[in-house]
Symmetry: C2
Subunit: 129 residues, 2 copies
């Protein structure tokens, strides 16, 4: 197996991730639209969002499609891929690649709601089949 990186380029930083989130939620979007959403959460200015968009494009995480003279941005990598890669990174780094200790950790920190427990149980049962 080769690199597990979907984007040919580098890693997506945390700030960049916030931008990705809004584009994953609502796909082809212009820079100003992205700014509207993102700047509502983080307190960023337009130039900041522009920079992040550019970096994501050069990292191969976003693609652009010209609409008139404007650009529409859309993700080139799947959210599930990103999330999967990041999750695995954490599990590898902190738990020697084993998921059970992670689960135990979350349990200990009371980070598991009843709903979580139910859903996990359901998933478990499903996987057993």
């Amino acid at each position: 197996m080769a690199k597990r990186n979907d984007a040919p380029g580098d890693r997506i930083s945390e700030a960049e991730h916030a931008v990705m989130e809004v584009l994953w939620e609502n796909s082809p979007m212009s820079a100003s639209d992205v700014c509207d959403r993102v700047c509502a959460q983080r307190d960023w200015s337009m130039p900041t969002v522009k920079t992040l968009l550019s970096r994501l494009v050069s990292k191969g995480a976003l693609g652009t499609e010209p609409l008139g003279r404007k650009f529409l941005y859309h993700p080139l990598i799947e959210r599930s891929d990103y999330v999967g890669t990041e999750s695995r990174r954490l599990v590898d780094r902190l738990f020697g690649g084993r998921a059970a200790p992670l689960f135990a950790q979350l349990a200990e920190n009371e980070a598991l709601s009843d709903k979580d427990l139910d859903e996990i149980e359901a998933l478990l049962r499903e996987m057993r089949r």
Copy 2:
């Protein structure tokens, strides 16, 4: 509530984390001993390890205790705290704070061994009580 950071200072970077790992495994240790262990895994040189140790000390993650003219380093923060904080960060950032989607993600990526499943099931049963 204030800051969720255990160490009064800043975050522990990934390289720093590697140093913390060896000290969590074997607590009061001199810089050269740390270097021996760490440099076996990552390909670092002594100065690099020294730098990381210093940074960890100034971040409040490590304490030093003079032994002769040498220093012995030991963790000031618990591994479980660090691991817990990091896990929660990831869950918050990627899964809206819910653990079940993380679990689903790992399941989908086949990141769960049979052993993991067994252990998680056991934990689940235990928590239900």
